[in-house]
């Protein structure tokens, strides 16, 4: 997701000009076939289950997008998640919260809702070290409930969310000692962007306005009984964005949303969750206008982005690690049946409920030699003992190189690959064929080749990106 750090030429977003605001968001008008549907399923979810891309392509662009943004009632299909030790205990076991959500990503019939929950988790990044699992899961439910609803409702929900109150010190901020932690991030990371039209004074005054949240500490469960306590709220006058008044937390949220820098921040950040690069200038203005006209609704903006030409003919993006892993499991229709996804995700650079800091994950750095190897491990684990071919088993000893590549592609549901990748896969398949020097090698070499091709496809640059 786009990060708003210190203002630079790249990050300084201008307001929409009136002419831009008037224009409509461009809509993709090219062919919408299997390949486009596949990309949509990756960007707006966690990749296709077998046959899903073909089915979605038949709906056409608009039908396909709306089926994701306006999904049927939530349903999880397939076996319940478990580890080697039995059912998940998401509230108590260290990585089971991660597994619990990963399972929803794999099994949900509302992939975009889960994907939006991930977008909000990254946007309002809260680290689980700060709050008990039950509160982190409560926040996760908020993100899911508000996935495609009103950003204003979401922001109000986050501002009073117990995990966030613990993480950014809102629960410890009183009229006597206002804490600026949440106030600062509310503007810098959640609504406006650093250096985009607010001052240090605004931070301090927001902090005063946001006082009033309270909780108790009980031996055992820890923080409980989160509530608004008027006694600790600062009722005095504050000047925020030049406006003086006895502002409270509701005013704080409203003023951030109505700030002139908010719409451009919102659409650019949301855009970066789905597409490469920044939105074209005209698009950005049109999206801002759509957002404000709808009354800060998320769904219309997401729909416009998902129908934008850039999604289908623009550059690829690196799949976030959990998206990559959930996608492997969806392609194989494999349920969560091992705790290994916890440590593999950790090695891959993305542990759910544990973003590196309040700014969320750095999407520009998903891939390096260490996380690449972790994705290799993920593919190897996804195939697993059950699906890897036994080198002592039966196999078609007449299979040629193209046949081997086709079979390996079918194993993963025929993902789209570049010409270069296909050529190299075929070269590998032929090399194995040429390596057969003795008749006893005919069968085992083909099995080894098939297992290897599946790994090479899953870890290809094509499948690391979408």
């Amino acid at each position: 997701m786009l990060k708003f750090g210190r203002p630079t030429a790249d990050h300084r977003l201008s307001q929409a000009t009136p002419s831009e605001a008037m224009s409509a968001v461009p809509v993709y008008s090219g062919r919408f076939g299997r390949q486009e549907a596949e990309r949509l399923l990756w960007r707006a979810g966690f990749g296709p289950r077998p046959g899903e891309a073909d089915k979605l392509a038949k709906r056409g662009l608009r039908g396909a997008v709306l089926s994701l943004t306006r999904p049927p009632a939530a349903r999880l299909s397939g076996p319940a998640p478990r580890t080697e030790d039995g059912p998940l205990r998401a509230h108590s076991e260290w990585s089971h919260d991660h597994l619990w959500w990963l399972d929803r990503m794999v099994r949900s019939n509302q992939p975009l809702v889960e994907r939006m929950a991930l977008v909000w988790h990254d946007w309002f990044a809260t680290v689980k070290d700060a709050a008990p699992a039950r509160l982190m899961l409560g926040q996760n439910a908020l993100f899911r409930r508000q996935a495609l609803g009103s950003f204003e409702d979401l922001l109000r929900g986050v501002t009073r969310d117990p995990a966030m109150l613990l993480f950014l010190s809102g629960g410890d901020s009183t009229k006597w000692e206002p804490n600026e932690n949440y106030a600062r991030e509310l503007m810098e990371l959640f609504t406006l962007g650093a250096g985009r039209g607010y001052t240090e004074r605004d931070v301090r005054e927001h902090a005063r306005a946001l006082t009033g949240w309270d909780y108790d500490w009980r031996e055992g469960p820890g923080p409980v009984n989160f509530r608004y306590n008027p006694e600790i709220h600062d009722t005095g006058a504050k000047t925020i964005f030049g406006r003086r008044g006895p502002h409270d937390w509701q005013d704080s949220v409203s003023m951030c949303l109505k700030h002139k820098s908010h719409p451009s921040f919102f659409v650019s950040k949301l855009w970066s969750a789905f597409a490469a690069g920044t939105p074209p200038t005209g698009t950005r203005g049109a999206l801002q206008s759509l957002y404000v006209r709808s009354g800060y609704e998320v769904r219309p903006v997401v729909e416009a982005i998902l129908m934008h030409p850039r999604i289908y003919d623009g550059d690829r993006v690196v799949k976030p690690p959990v998206v990559y892993i959930a996608g492997l499991l969806r392609a194989l229709e494999r349920p969560i049946d091992t705790g290994a996804w916890g440590w593999i995700s950790d090695l891959s650079g993305q542990v759910l409920f544990r973003p590196p800091n309040v700014a969320g994950w750095d999407e520009d750095r998903w891939l390096d030699t260490a996380t690449f190897r972790a994705r290799w491990l993920a593919a190897n684990y996804a195939i697993g003992e059950k699906r890897a071919l036994d080198t002592d088993g039966e196999y078609d000893t007449t299979e040629d190189a193209p046949g081997a590549v086709a079979r390996a592609l079918a194993f993963w549901g025929r993902p789209t690959l570049s010409v270069e990748t296909r050529r190299q896969l075929l070269a590998y398949a032929e090399r194995c064929q040429d390596g057969i020097e003795h008749s006893w090698q005919e069968r085992p070499y083909r099995i080894l080749r098939q297992n290897a091709l599946r790994m090479l496809i899953a870890t290809s640059p094509d499948c690391m990106t979408s």
């Binding site: 697993g384 590998y428 194995c432 090479l456």
Partner: protein, 460 residues
């Protein structure tokens, strides 16, 4: 372990663990016991991607890990020329009178009725006709014969302390101060080292070596070799090797889309790193390199990895590791001592040969030390109790190869009032010489009262 540890030794182990988790607090210790140097230093884990090592980094809390990674990469890029000192610790107090047995001393058989070596066992020690190398130390004897081992037959300090922990602490901090909190090599690194290269002081045992504890610059410990394998289920033999080649080829073949091309470049780098890391894999040393094989002891593999790291140009200055076994041999000493001494000596010889073959032997000196020697008179359990003067070595092509201090003998002049060997050289004088003659820096300011020690000549 067939023999029992003394209470002090077990506590020592506990404290070491605690030091490893520095900052998490130490178990209760008795009054007067020194805290290990480096206690309380911050510890963070990092993966040095340029070197494929998983490290614990100590004492760099103000720096981002990417800065450290960049620092290492930068330091690696410039071919290192600084001298390297490797500290090998023989833990528990090795019995120097077995390593270099005074078979020619008239009191030897009386003091060691059951543990004495036979009059013709092992090789004679050319610099003192009373002494013979333990047969298990034949590899060291061989290097000594080539002039590559400087022997300190009775190294120690005045008013010797017989607590494992206290005496070891003195060696680690380079003074007889219980309150010192930086290691002697750590202070050297504080003077000459870099604020962004934690590899300059590297412990190979997986936890901070107190001798490397710094006050300014970061140092590190190998947590374990980063296993950078690319295993695939049901793929082996030639098709596996070709698969790994294909992984890089697929990556390198990409063009057009920037994200796909960048992902491909990572695959190419991963393939390259996999090949580079094979030598640091830390498991068994490569066959044919001459390192002894041991299923249980990491020592030969650690030295083999160290040679590979040096050959790869990693920016190391001071390295610390612990030799096999513990030498707190209060009972049934002979078997354990021989087994561990042999593995240690054979590994050190293999390391020396490895460095020679790689053309690195002139850059590295190895200092072998133990916290004290053992009592001249054996005890009733076929073992020996804590003593004073002990044995030390400086090994390397540049070692001068001439004994430092004489063997004091087992007569009344050679033993102190407790029946322990008198020290004929001081470890602090040894450190002064290593600093000045090998590392090229003035010992004053690094070793307390440096001016009061006369420097033995160690380096040829």
């Amino acid at each position: 372990m067939s023999h029992q540890h003394c209470r002090d030794f077990s506590r020592n182990q506990l404290l070491r663990q605690a030091a490893a988790e520095a900052g998490k607090g130490l178990p209760d210790i008795e009054a007067g016991m020194p805290l290990p140097a480096g206690t309380g230093l911050t510890r963070r884990s990092m993966l040095v991607r340029s070197a494929g090592l998983a490290l614990s980094v100590y004492g760099a809390s103000q720096l981002g890990l990417n800065v450290l990674g960049d620092g290492i990469a930068e330091a690696t890029a410039a071919p290192p020329s600084s001298p390297v000192l490797v500290s090998v610790f023989l833990e528990g107090g090795i019995d120097s009178l077995s390593v270099l047995a005074p078979v020619g001393d008239p009191n030897y058989r009386r003091l060691r009725p059951r543990l004495a070596l036979g009059p013709s066992e092992g090789r004679p020690f050319a610099e003192d006709e009373r002494l013979r190398w333990h047969p298990a130390a034949a590899s060291l004897a061989e290097l000594h014969g080539e002039g590559k081992v400087t022997v300190l037959p009775s190294v120690g300090y005045t008013d010797p302390d017989q607590s494992h922990f206290t005496s070891r602490h003195f060696y680690e901090v380079g003074s007889t101060s219980a309150s010192a909190s930086t290691g002697w090599m750590g202070r050297y690194l504080d003077r000459v080292g870099s604020s962004s290269n934690p590899l300059q002081g590297l412990a190979l045992d997986g936890r901070l070596a107190p001798a490397l504890a710094t006050s300014k610059v970061p140092v590190s410990a190998v947590e374990g070799p980063d296993d950078y394998g690319f295993w695939a289920r049901g793929v082996w033999g030639d098709p596996e090797e070709w698969m790994l080649e294909a992984m890089g080829r697929i990556g390198g073949a990409q063009s057009g889309d920037p994200a796909r091309t960048a992902a491909g470049e990572v695959a190419v780098q991963a393939g390259r790193l996999r090949r580079q890391l094979a030598p640091f894999s830390g498991g068994s040393p490569p066959a044919g390199a001459g390192y002894p094989s041991s299923e249980e002891e990491p020592f030969p593999g650690q030295l083999s990895s160290l040679a590979a790291m040096l050959a790869a140009g990693l920016p190391l200055r001071c390295v610390a590791l612990t030799a096999p076994g513990d030498h707190d041999t209060h009972d049934d000493q002979a078997g354990d001592l021989a087994r561990n001494l042999k593995l240690t000596s054979d590994s050190l010889r293999a390391f020396q040969r490895d460095l020679e073959a790689r053309g690195l032997a002139n850059r590295v000196l190895v200092h072998v030390w133990s916290e004290f020697g053992r009592r001249a008179e054996e005890n009733g359990s076929r073992g020996t109790d804590h003593g004073a003067g002990g044995v030390g070595f400086v090994v390397g092509s540049r070692a001068r190869g001439q004994m430092v201090g004489e063997f004091p003998g087992l007569g009344s002049g050679g033993l102190d009032g407790d029946g322990n060997l008198r020290a004929t050289s001081d470890f602090r004088a040894l450190y002064c010489s290593l600093l000045e003659q090998w590392m090229g820096t003035d010992a004053s300011g690094l070793i307390p009262s440096a001016a009061s020690f006369s420097r033995p000549r160690l380096v040829a």
